[in-house]
């Protein structure tokens, strides 16, 4: 089933499509949530929350890429749960590391509103578009899919150090980019 067909069935309010979405994109979404939350049960809950959110928001949303949209719903949900559970402490897992690394290219204050958040998202996409493909891929593996370095290295048949160095360089470029865009 294509994304267009799935979207059409969502717009037609065909609840049965959610089972298809779960079967098709669930494993990836669950894996992502599990990396964030380190718990299969919590990850499963995020998946279900993501399905509900998909149902509730499409329509009126008509994402260009339904798959990416669904992944981001689950991801965001997992991050929200993570924040709620880990507000005052640093635990294990990749999220604290990712945050620490991204701290290299961020400031101390949070974006105040949704407009700011939207602008930041657009800027990040422009930045990603400016990168060589490999560097972009590595960045996304680390900070979107929140994968551990050995996992990324294995996928690309690189060493962990190579991945680490390239991510470091990309974060530096991101910082310069955000400064240039006056977002930092």
């Amino acid at each position: 089933m294509t994304e267009e067909q799935i979207l059409a069935r969502l717009l037609a309010r065909d609840e049965g499509i959610l089972a298809h979405v779960e079967a098709e994109w669930g494993p990836l979404a669950t894996a992502l949530a599990q990396r964030i939350l380190q718990s299969p049960q919590d990850a499963e809950e995020c998946l279900q929350d993501g399905l509900i959110a998909l149902w509730d928001t499409v329509p009126p949303q008509r994402p260009d890429s339904l798959r990416a949209y669904f992944l981001s719903l689950v991801r965001n949900r997992a991050l929200d749960v993570y924040r709620a559970e880990h507000r005052e402490k640093r635990g294990g897992g990749v999220v604290p590391l990712a945050l620490e690394e991204l701290g290299d290219c961020a400031g101390p204050d949070s974006v105040e509103d949704r407009v700011g958040a939207k602008l930041l998202g657009e800027a990040v996409n422009r930045f990603l578009g400016s990168l060589p493909e490999r560097d972009r891929d590595l960045f996304l593996h680390r900070y979107y899919f929140l994968e551990e370095l050995p996992e990324i290295a294995d996928f690309y048949r690189m060493t962990r150090h190579q991945v680490s160095v390239r991510l470091h360089r990309t974060r530096k470029k991101l910082k310069d980019y955000l400064k240039k865009e006056e977002l930092l």
């Binding site: 890429s65 981001s72 991204l102 400031g107 101390p108 998202g121 657009e122 990603l128 060589p132 060493t159």
Partner: protein, 481 residues
């Protein structure tokens, strides 16, 4: 905007980027190993003479250029355009001959801006691969050597003290580091666009490391000091070489001074000290140190020594990438290339000025004078060396001082392993009558036949009888193979 916002913002990534990221890379010959940097054969030398800063830095420049690329790399998996016609590109850009003993490991061509090709090829000598152990802290892959027909830049700081010594220093350094048979090297001078070049044309097989003919261009300034050099190996056509020489920016002494000035060095060393203190669990970073001249006995065959002086323990034990990361973090020095300097890893660091600091894995090569602008006295130099301490890249290194014939000697011993054998080294640093510091280096070459104390003392005493003006920059390893 904090890190959390950024993490959230990454969640807005476009679908096509996500799709691409999840697409497994195309199968390609696995790199045997990489230090993450382009490595090519090059040579660098640093000599510090009393009152004078003399620095030579090798630079492997990976800049885009519109003329005859000399090294090639086909990113088949990254550049679909290249993947469409790899054979054509490879045929056009790869040299006709793979250096003897090497196997082509990786080749790439990257089209930039729709007009410029950056092409690279890398060769590996399989018999020189090293097995690298992995620890919790490092994950070095199998070390490898890369061979490319690369351009090399030398930045020679003129020896202001003695006019005309430039050529002398150059020739000896050239021979010393490359093992070149200087009797076969054809020396000439050439003027290109008003710039005087000293040209060394090295016939095929006149050096241990390159079987092809190669040509070196040393740029002379009006005082006939050599400030710059470029190295081309076949089959780069002459017109391409000339075009490249013309395209290179003139040496800017002001920029060079800025890079090499003592404030930069001192600030850098201070930041290293702070970092080391704050990170006791990490591999300490060696501060910039002085690499000092020593005596080479007349007729001593250096080339064989260096040819057998293969990558030392640093490639096995030292997280080079981590070290380089720290250099970037601490001082904004970006590694822009790395070379096998006679089988030592040499790194070129760009501080953004377009000039390079060169360093080897065991020390930094840089021009250096004392912070207050006056040259170090020998005693201060020894103190400085001692304060830096045994090089962290050496194994089992020990440093101490002793006195011999009324002269204070700073001694360091260490081990270096390669190809399954361990070599033991010892250096003696002491003051020469002219105020410079001399270094004698003794080594057993892995033969486990230690240099006797009597021989060390004999060498030491023989140096005292030699006019320091006859000393040549460089260093000597006395030992066996």
């Amino acid at each position: 905007m904090n890190a959390d916002d950024l993490l959230q913002a990454v969640g807005e990534t476009r679908a096509e980027y996500l799709d691409h990221a999840q697409t497994p890379p195309a199968a390609s010959p696995r790199r045997v190993g990489s230090l993450g940097r382009r490595i090519a054969l090059a040579a660098a030398v640093l000599a510090l003479l009393a009152g004078t800063v003399y620095a030579a830095v090798t630079g492997l420049v990976t800049k885009e250029r519109a003329v005859g690329p000399q090294w090639y790399e086909v990113y088949l998996e990254e550049n679909p355009a290249a993947a469409d016609a790899p054979e054509e590109i490879l045929d056009h850009y790869l040299p006709a001959r793979v250096p003897e003993g090497y196997v082509l490991q990786h080749a790439s061509v990257d089209v930039k801006d729709g007009k410029t090709l950056e092409a690279k090829a890398e060769w590996v000598r399989p018999d020189l691969q090293m097995v690298v152990k992995e620890t919790e802290d490092t994950e070095l892959e199998d070390a490898e050597t890369w061979f490319t027909n690369a351009e090399v830049r030398y930045f020679y700081r003129p020896l202001k003290a003695v006019s005309g010594i430039g050529a002398y220093v150059l020739e000896n350094a050239f021979s010393d580091l490359n093992g070149a048979d200087m009797d076969r090297v054809i020396k000439s001078e050439e003027q290109i666009d008003g710039v005087d070049y000293l040209v060394y044309t090295c016939p095929a097989d006149s050096m241990p490391l390159w079987s092809d003919e190669n040509t070196w261009y040393f740029w002379m300034d009006e005082n006939r000091h050599y400030l710059y050099s470029m190295f081309f190996s076949e089959p780069v056509p002459r017109e391409d070489r000339l075009a490249f020489l013309r395209s290179v920016a003139p040496v800017d002494d002001a920029a060079w001074d800025r890079v090499m000035n003592p404030d930069t060095v001192s600030a850098f060393n201070e930041s290293i000290t702070r970092w080391n203190a704050a990170h006791p669990e990490a591999m300490p970073i060696a501060p910039i140190r002085l690499y000092l001249p020593s005596l080479r006995p007349e007729g001593y065959d250096m080339s064989q020594q260096w040819y057998n002086y293969w990558p030392n323990a640093s490639l096995e034990d030292i997280p080079v990438e981590q070290w380089l990361d720290r250099l970037e973090e601490l001082h904004g020095l970006e590694c822009v290339g790395s070379d096998m300097l006679h089988f030592h890893l040499a790194i070129q660091l760009d501080d953004g000025s377009g000039r390079y600091l060169g360093c080897r894995e065991q020390n930094f090569i840089s021009g250096h004078i004392s912070p207050d602008g006056d040259p170090y006295s020998p005693a201060e130099l020894l103190d400085l060396l001692e304060s830096i301490g045994p090089d962290p890249f050496y194994k089992n290194s020990v440093m101490d001082r002793f006195t011999l014939d009324g002269k204070e000697i700073l001694r360091m011993t260490w081990e270096s392993s390669c190809e399954g054998r361990t070599s033991h080294f010892e250096t003696w640093n002491f003051a020469a009558p002219d105020g410079s510091i001399l270094e004698l280096r003794f080594g057993d070459g892995g033969a486990e036949i230690p240099v006797s104390e009597e021989l060390k003392i004999a060498f030491f005493r023989s140096i005292q009888e030699i006019d320091p003006a006859e000393l040549t920059p460089g260093y000597i390893t006395v030992g066996w193979h």
